[in-house]
Amino acid sequence: MEYTFHWARMFSGEPAQWMWDGFVTTLQISFIALICSMLLGIIICVMRMTPFKPLQWLSLAYTEFFRNTPLLVQIFFWYNASHFVIPASINEWMNDLYYWFPGPFSMFGHEFVGEWMLLNVEFITGTIALTVYTSAFIAEEIRAGIFSIPKNQLEASRAVGLSFLQGYRFVILPQALRIVIPPLISQALNLIKNSSLCMVIGVGEMMFQATQIESYHAIPFEAFSVALLIYMTISLFVSFCITMYNKHFMIQVRY
């Protein structure tokens, strides 16, 4: 089969513009979902560590269920069936969002043709799905980090006269956070990669734009290769950061 490559067409005009829009949307959805899933993950993790049993069970059920179902199914669930879970008023608000934030956006004298941030129902449901999925993983990472600190350190800190919260604040958490941060960074990386699944409901992120370019300009191979390069650059940069972090900040936990 004959296939001629048209690399130049990827870097000018419409395809370049779309690819840039997709890149920006990917970063936006990943960033928002990362912040939200951090907060939710911490809440879930704290719930797991309280002595109150029903809260523990709830947290356990949450992490187990959302870690063991595919993200794609969750995205479909939030997009198609969210009106059973989310109250009707919020649902209506979400569906009207597009009419609230439509305008174009110019910065540094450069006119961005597309809207700088499409706050529509797809974006919101995609963010919810990514948040819920990632927060289950983040909760487990944080819990594993805290549990990897030997329990006798907490007992020792209690014995020296620190209160329970002070023991966590001054002894456990400073060590646990050092352990938790590398897995959290790789979770963030997973989140950026997982955000590509949001294309199925029509969030205009990088994979969506690549398929769009493929169908409008018939340059599939070039479009996906450029998307691949961008994802690779992001992930190599992040893993470089993890390596640097491990080199400089990792300390040996004492047993």
Binding site: N68, T69, P70, S196, F224
Partner: protein
């Protein structure tokens, strides 16, 4: 609620229109949960061999053996599976000269994708063994490859089983991505039934999620139990 729609279509979720006959692969129009399981099992089988090769190549000291494995593993780990699937779907006709069916494309992609992760598991498993094992094996007269094959790998592979099971679980979840390319597996049957009935989204998607959850949770529990059992027999440094 319309649970009767789910009950009516439950067999469609499980095996769809799968037909058995005497023509070669003997099983045609694989769909539903059965297709997801076949994709995952065949995928992990292929990924094991690719990953074993990649992991051992990455452990090599010669740069021309190590480099391809490093490039392969880091590249695959840096890209989303969806991108790999689309990329391969459009690359395959260029390479092969004819189009590849979606089912075969996704299966190859699952092998390539999971192979990189299995490669990292293999590398970690071999490195986790105490260095004295290798030295003792070499000291008793085995060659490098013999020591690897007879001493290191049997121990390392056994310790890796829980990680393999975890990888299998995440591959089972990832088979849902085949739906985007149009392979008629569990997620796709869910989309079909949901779009046809239009009133039972919640019931359909909860059912699909629970079917995946059932498989993945059972496997996760098994791997946790095995992890606890296997850690007792692991060779240690101290």
């Amino acid at each position: 609620m319309h649970w009767n729609i789910v009950i009516d279509n439950f067999d469609y979720f499980l095996w769809g229109q799968t037909k058995f006959d005497l023509v070669f692969p003997f099983i045609h129009d694989v769909s539903g949960l059965l297709a997801a399981i076949i994709l995952a099992v065949v995928g992990i089988f292929g990924a094991f061999w690719i990953g074993l090769a990649a992991g051992l190549m990455r452990l090599s000291k010669k740069w021309y053996i190590k480099l391809p494995a490093v490039v392969y593993i880091e590249m695959i780990r840096g890209m989303p599976l969806l991108l790999l699937i689309f990329w391969f779907f459009f690359l395959a006709p260029v390479l092969l000269g004819r189009s590849l069916p979606a089912f075969a494309t996704t299966m190859v992609c699952f092998m390539i994708f999971t192979g990189a992760y299995v490669g990292e598991i293999v590398r970690a498993g071999v490195l986790a063994l105490p260095g004295g094992q290798m030295e003792a094996a070499r000291g008793s007269g085995l060659s490098q490859s013999q020591a690897m094959r007879l001493v290191i790998l049997p121990q390392a592979l056994r310790n890796m089983i829980p990680s393999f099971v975890n990888q299998f679980v995440s591959l089972t979840k990832d088979t849902s991505l085949a739906a985007i390319l149009g392979v008629n597996e569990l997620t796709r049957t869910g989309v079909q039934v949901d779009n046809r009935e239009m009133v039972a989204s919640f019931e359909v998607w909860i059912t699909i999620a629970l079917l995946y959850f059932l498989i993945c949770y059972v496997l996760t529990s098994i791997s946790r139990r095995m992890e606890a059992q296997l850690s007792r027999y692991q060779a240690r440094d101290r």
